[in-house]
């Protein structure tokens, strides 16, 4: 009950913060960082494996949140989900911008790439602690599909990288991921 109340409060506070951003009041950005900043940075760090890159992605994401605040629709998912989606997109921008990564020393870049290989454990659903509907549903997917979805969502791997890592043709990887997500959605609903 308390958890539900907390979640409800957070959701209302995030909505209010986003409304402030849409009105041009940057205290909305401070509020979002206050409510979600540590968790957001955790997501960015997990994907990018460097604190400086993670903060760059988070800052970049907050600029996007600021610019797009007026476009988030109350009837299309939570504000929280929307903000995390923007953050993950900014992380992907950094990962896929060869020029950005080339500013890292080769040894540092190698460390990042090495660490990224370890983000998703072999039994992917272990990433979710405790018991949850999502964990149960991930558990119900076949292992390659589950792994591919997690490599994409959690680690930011591209279709090509997933195909190479799973040792399968690109087209197979693409359809595996789409089928997997569709099955996951069905299980969750």
């Amino acid at each position: 009950m308390k958890d539900r109340q907390t979640a409800h409060d957070r959701s209302a506070r995030l909505r209010q913060a986003l409304d402030q951003c849409a009105d041009g009041d940057d205290s909305g950005i401070a509020a979002i960082l206050d409510i979600e900043g540590r968790q957001l940075l955790g997501v960015a760090f997990r994907m990018l494996q460097r604190h400086d890159l993670a903060e760059e992605a988070l800052q970049d994401a907050m600029v996007q949140v600021w610019r797009k605040a007026g476009t988030q629709r109350a009837d299309s998912g939570s504000v929280r989900g929307w903000i995390y989606a923007i953050l993950r997109n900014r992380c992907l921008n950094i990962l896929r911008d060869g020029k950005r990564l080339s500013t890292l020393a080769p040894a540092d870049l190698a460390l990042v790439q090495e660490a990224r290989q370890q983000i998703v454990p072999t039994e992917g659903w272990e990433i979710l602690a405790g018991s949850s509907k999502l964990r149960t549903c991930l558990d119900g997917l076949d292992a390659p599909g589950r792994q591919a979805i997690l490599l994409a969502y959690v680690a930011g791997f591209s279709h090509g990288e997933i195909a190479a890592r799973q040792n399968m043709p690109l087209g197979t990887a693409k359809s595996l991921i789409r089928r997997g997500l569709s099955a996951l959605k069905e299980c969750l609903s």
């Binding site: 041009g24 940057d26 950005i29 968790q39 800052q59 970049d60 610019r67 950005r100």
Partner: protein, 241 residues
Amino acid sequence: MTGLSDDIRDLASDYVLGLMPEGEMRLFEELIQRDPELARHVGDLRDSLLPLDLSATPRDLSEGFAESTRALVQADAADGPAAPGPANPAPQHAANITRPPSRRMTGLAAAALVGIAIGFGAGGLRPQPEPQVIAVLLDDQGVPQAVVEDYGNDTATVRFVAQIDVPADRSLQVWTLPTPEIGATSLGVLDRTAPTRLTFDDLPGPMAQQLYEVTLEPAGGSPTGRPTGPIIGKGYAAPQV
């Protein structure tokens, strides 16, 4: 049961999982803005997967991070989109994408137009008047940069669907070519890539295949009244009514 096609659902899956190339992603976001059912579908998918984000270990922000982020958005509000990251004003790099557009890009552009038409037609959900034509403006690599909707009553809107860095001493200018006799005519000058409503005077109603383009011009707009700068994107009008 929903009315989204399997193709659009597949694209939504790729989008939510971060598997869509940037150019396609921006066009898909345009489509999401237009189609409430798609927006709900994407929102549901995101919320379903959100526990994965919450499984990351939280991490402390550096001292002063919130303050510097606020300063950054204040600067953004004052100066237009001064997006962080490497400044890259050269228009040939504006799309940040050098590979040729994929074949499915064309399909996605078509889907966007269909989606726009469906969005406008869906039971009067949208009170705005319908645009008479829509043009998706592509750069020289075929990557969408902007979408122009011309309402035929001397108003049009432009939305940018790619990251375009506008140097401080430059403006973006939107043009159309109503007829060869009239020649290229300015629809408006912009200093930033925010969605903008353009109003202009006494142009003939827009026609199918009419050319629209955005160029990078000196601050305040072209000094000659004709396009002088590099083309950011151009495209031809598709009738909507």
